[in-house]
């Protein structure tokens, strides 16, 4: 139930077994079914969710009802509406399970308490935020400068599992493309092979 979390933490900081056992007591284990939501747009986001198993996505909905995917989270990833989680304001995103998933949830108070109890966890969180910021910059830059094909190729090279585990229309939304454009891009790439 905590294998991915242990792996994720130990990739970034050194924790003793005792410290990890203490960490576990702060997390809420939660199973969520496919299409169930962890957070609804407009609600206050009270959890930072670690995905032990499964896939989640966060998305916002525009005035026409179109869903704009902000993030996917696979096994070993974190997902939340960071602004709402840290400030207590209303969330911009809905967080939904794409597959049946097993999560470990950390509330804002539990996160603070855990960082006090295990200082290495604070360093782990800082490194995560640092990496998330770098990834966000890269994504914004890609959205502004890359072609549809470049965006798709970069995504599939970085995260090959996206193709097999995520429906195409969600991938298109994540890349800021229409499903038709993504389909055309995929066809062009396959014809060249």
């Amino acid at each position: 139930m905590y294998e991915q979390l242990k792996k994720s933490i130990s990739q970034k900081v050194v924790l003793s077994n005792e410290e990890f056992e203490l960490c576990k007591t702060f997390f809420i284990p939660k199973k969520i079914r496919k299409k169930q939501t962890l957070l609804l747009e407009g609600d206050v986001c009270t959890y930072n969710a670690f995905v032990e198993k499964g896939i989640l996505r966060s998305y916002s909905t525009d005035e026409k009802g179109n869903e704009n995917v902000m993030q996917f989270a696979f096994d070993g990833w974190w997902i939340t509406d960071l602004s709402s989680f840290l400030t207590g304001g209303n969330s911009t995103y809905t967080i939904e399970a794409i597959e049946d998933s097993e999560l470990l949830l950390l509330t804002t108070t539990a996160r603070e308490a855990l960082m006090d109890a295990v200082p290495a966890f604070e360093r782990y969180q800082r490194l995560l935020l640092q990496n998330a910021y770098i990834a966000l910059q890269s994504r914004v830059n890609g959205a502004l400068t890359a072609t549809a094909e470049e965006k798709y190729l970069k995504l599939t090279a970085s995260y090959p599992e996206i193709i097999s585990r995520i429906p195409q229309h969600m991938v298109a939304s994540y890349l800021g493309l229409t499903p038709e454009t993504l389909s055309r891009v995929r066809k062009q790439i396959s014809l060249r092979k």
Binding site: M1, I28, P29, K30, K31
Partner: protein
């Protein structure tokens, strides 16, 4: 306030808690478990007949019901069933566990609180004691526990579904 959407009811067939489950069913997703499958089906049907659009599910396993839930209610025989209690222990970490105490002996309830704190050291135990006799229409409950946040959450849920609560924080 903790975000409670899904509640697991372990030992759902205890009819003394029907009024509470009936009100909860109108506002929350309930995952019902009981070792007695027939009694579970009867309660499930009875709740459905009064709450046609409610999300009520009979669960074959106490662990999965508790794993999916944001809050766990232990009632009936399950309170004293060590096997059931052990199966939900790991998935109950950091969650609120509500013990529906239907025994009138106040001192016994305090002993329960102590033993459940030992069994679930990383959960927030709230004991709920019905302070009315069964034939009274208005239900009032005494809530006991250590964690003020959990006490507020459970009190809020009970008040929201139309019951009066008295909160007692144990030091």
């Amino acid at each position: 306030m903790q975000n409670i959407k899904t509640i697991a009811v372990i030992g759902a067939s205890d009819k003394r808690n029907f009024a509470v489950l009936n009100e909860l069913a109108a506002r929350y997703q309930l995952l019902l478990f009981d070792k007695n499958e027939q009694a579970l089906s009867e309660i499930h049907q009875a709740l459905l007949s009064k709450n046609r659009y409610a999300y009520l599910e009979k669960m074959p396993c106490a662990t999965n019901a508790s794993w999916e839930a944001d809050l766990i209610i232990l009632s009936g025989f399950c309170i004293n069933d060590a096997t059931v209690v052990q199966t939900i222990k790991e998935v109950a970490t950091a969650k609120i566990i509500v013990i529906m105490e239907n025994d009138d002996e106040f001192t016994k309830s305090i002993n329960h609180q102590v033993s459940f704190d030992l069994i679930f050291p990383h959960s927030k135990i709230i004991e709920v004691i019905n302070v009315n006799s069964d034939d009274q229409a208005e239900k009032e409950f005494l809530l006991e526990g250590h964690d003020s946040y959990a006490l507020d959450t459970v009190s809020n849920i009970f008040e929201r579904i139309g019951f009066n609560t008295f909160v007692s924080q144990i030091n």
